[in-house]
Point group: C2
Amino acid sequence: MSNDALVTRLREHLGKAAVLTDSDVTDAYSRDMMPLAPVGKPLAVVLPSDVEGVQAVVKACAEFEVPIVPRGAGSGLSGAANAIDGCVVLVLTKLDQIVEIDAGNRLAVVQPGVVNLDFRNAVEKHGLFYPPDPSSYDWCTLGGNLSTNAGGLCCVKYGVTTDSVLGLEVVLADGSILKTGRRTVKGVAGYDLARLFVGSEGTLGVITQATVALKPLPQAPSTFVAGFSSTEAAGEAVARVVREGLVPSLLEIMDATSIKAAEAYLKTDLGAGSDCKALLLAQSDSGGEVARRELAALEQICVDCGADLAYATDDLEEGKMLLQARRVVLSALELYGVWLTDDVCVPRTRIAELIAGCERISEEVGLRIAVVGHAGDGNMHPTIVYSPDSEDEFARAQKAFDAILEVGLSLGGTVTGEHGVGKIKREWLAREIGEVGLRVHRQIKQALDPQNLFNPGSMFSL
Amino acid sequence: MSNDALVTRLREHLGKAAVLTDSDVTDAYSRDMMPLAPVGKPLAVVLPSDVEGVQAVVKACAEFEVPIVPRGAGSGLSGAANAIDGCVVLVLTKLDQIVEIDAGNRLAVVQPGVVNLDFRNAVEKHGLFYPPDPSSYDWCTLGGNLSTNAGGLCCVKYGVTTDSVLGLEVVLADGSILKTGRRTVKGVAGYDLARLFVGSEGTLGVITQATVALKPLPQAPSTFVAGFSSTEAAGEAVARVVREGLVPSLLEIMDATSIKAAEAYLKTDLGAGSDCKALLLAQSDSGGEVARRELAALEQICVDCGADLAYATDDLEEGKMLLQARRVVLSALELYGVWLTDDVCVPRTRIAELIAGCERISEEVGLRIAVVGHAGDGNMHPTIVYSPDSEDEFARAQKAFDAILEVGLSLGGTVTGEHGVGKIKREWLAREIGEVGLRVHRQIKQALDPQNLFNPGSMFSL
């Protein structure tokens, strides 16, 4: 059976406009935001607008034995959504309905193409809150969030995407529809298949609908910032926050390189003094007296750990300004070149050691490495800056990328806290989970996708 | 190969004292607390004391093609731990070490035989809190909690067992050891295998170690009780608690039959008046002013919904006394016969309808049915009372048990909120998850346990 016949079949099912084959157009759907990942040439890019369309695509591809790479907006940072040669890229952005918001039971039913921010705004009108907030929340889609088990700044208090998932609808490799999970907040009827599909990076099926739990809308946040003249002191402060049982709604760290970049970009100094080596930024969304008490406790810990700067505010605008320093880091690094952001998660007592390791690596490879991260859960994003015109710098950036993972593992951490494995960390996954772990992954993949139809070679190879 | 040879082999590996074959002794390890479930005659009961012992048992049973039924203390309510004829019952209670408590990272590493309460007490000494608190917490083991994904009173605020799990060590069907998950609070390296094994009721492998996340120790609880002259009013109060975004640390409901039983048992009236049809019991563990504010908001909702009684206290002893009414219900029901407790979870807006359904069923079958439950997450335990000497009453109790599940499903609920499927709800699982869901279960089971060695026929049949 020829590829032309598959394209004809797809057009019959989806309509001509929903099946793209012109490489000028398909290139735009062929990669995510990770420069290290390999990119292939797809046979076609398809944009079904309902679950029946997704089923038709899966059945046709199964028949023609053509692999499927599912994707959302393409904000990913692991190449999981990158095309492989000859595949069909299955774009889910047209399944973009918020099917239901059930405020009485604090849940919603959504399609995968809904943009995270649009969904947040929609539930906020009901006084509700959807916690997962990856940095790309203003353009990433919920389907991608589910497939990568995305995190964000909220995780220290509210967990990652899987913690909000109650149930899923998934199109399986034979085109049948699996409905798994539930609408109740508790339930143990059978295996937790929903959480198996969450974070499976499109290798087991195509998520076409999700039922998610919502939280009550928190209070407006109060914000706290502390500056330290050593990363060790900042790391010790984080460890003490954990040990003393504080649970801020946000707890971020910036190292010296990040601070300098943000200051250059914002054309201001962050008030931390010229020998500031680390900033901690925190918020409490508990409101009123409780928030004040939580931030006062944070301040006490930071001062005890030798902070030179410690400042709290419950003014919303001022809080936003303080957080801006954290939010602009990636843009700021573009002053120096292009960036490559890594993703490791270490035990929260080991953050300072990870930053020290990144400093060492930076010296070794002769490239700027800025460390920002979700300190409250130990999830760090060391970000390597290199020149887009230098192959040598790119090679050194790759070397640094791997060296950071090495340090992360040596500290008892994991090679990915929230970005996923995709097409760039397959060898690292194998190393982290070992032979037996890899075997179980393969057994599950083969059981659910015997033709190896879904995103083959991503995450691990058979 | 004969069964004698298997017993000999097991004795070689574990020592004679750890392999029991005398039926007077093995009977005690052959069933859990669910009277409806079938019970078989095991070939042997084995009690290894380390992971190597577990591996030896699994390998020997695989070689002799003898099924394994893993179990902990036997407090389960689904028959999942019940022996089947000719099986080896693998008792995990001797793997009872708390391997590590890492207060700095708020986590612990435990073996499956540790009793829930012992673990709670151990982490409390570090100012930490392990939330899952099934009713049997003073004797059930963590391995059973993991295998059933146990809940408890804490779930309304803190979730179920799976929400505390970071990583697992599991002995697989070929005797190899899978280490999955992590020590970090975030991590997306590969499939979420840990949460696949949690709640799999011993059908996929034997959990020999778990890494669990701990919470800061909450404040001493303040307690609130409200009495209503109709279950509809109590149900509406629960729905409004959810809708208005309150998150108490406990929110329980008792229907009229439970109240009467508790009053008879405690030889006191609960102060709710003779026409009280439902009690709500709530706690806040937020402490001080916040707890007072949370309970005041609860009180306002209850009064708005027509509560005849509404009383709050931050006195610990008085709070315990108020909660005692809820805790004694099962013991109290033994005044009238033996009990059979069901487990359904419905959307939190449908609780009153479930209770009304149970009243209808009670009249139909002519048996007392008391409804108690975790109102805050819709997880109800209608408990049927029957005479142990009457086969007819037992048959009617079984009929009521199924009729309750029927009502639960019709309200958009699940057939098990926290007890599991085991050997009593297989047909109901099939009905709830459907053909495709069942097929995926079988595919995963066959992939990981091709000999169908682990707890065959429990949860579903191949």
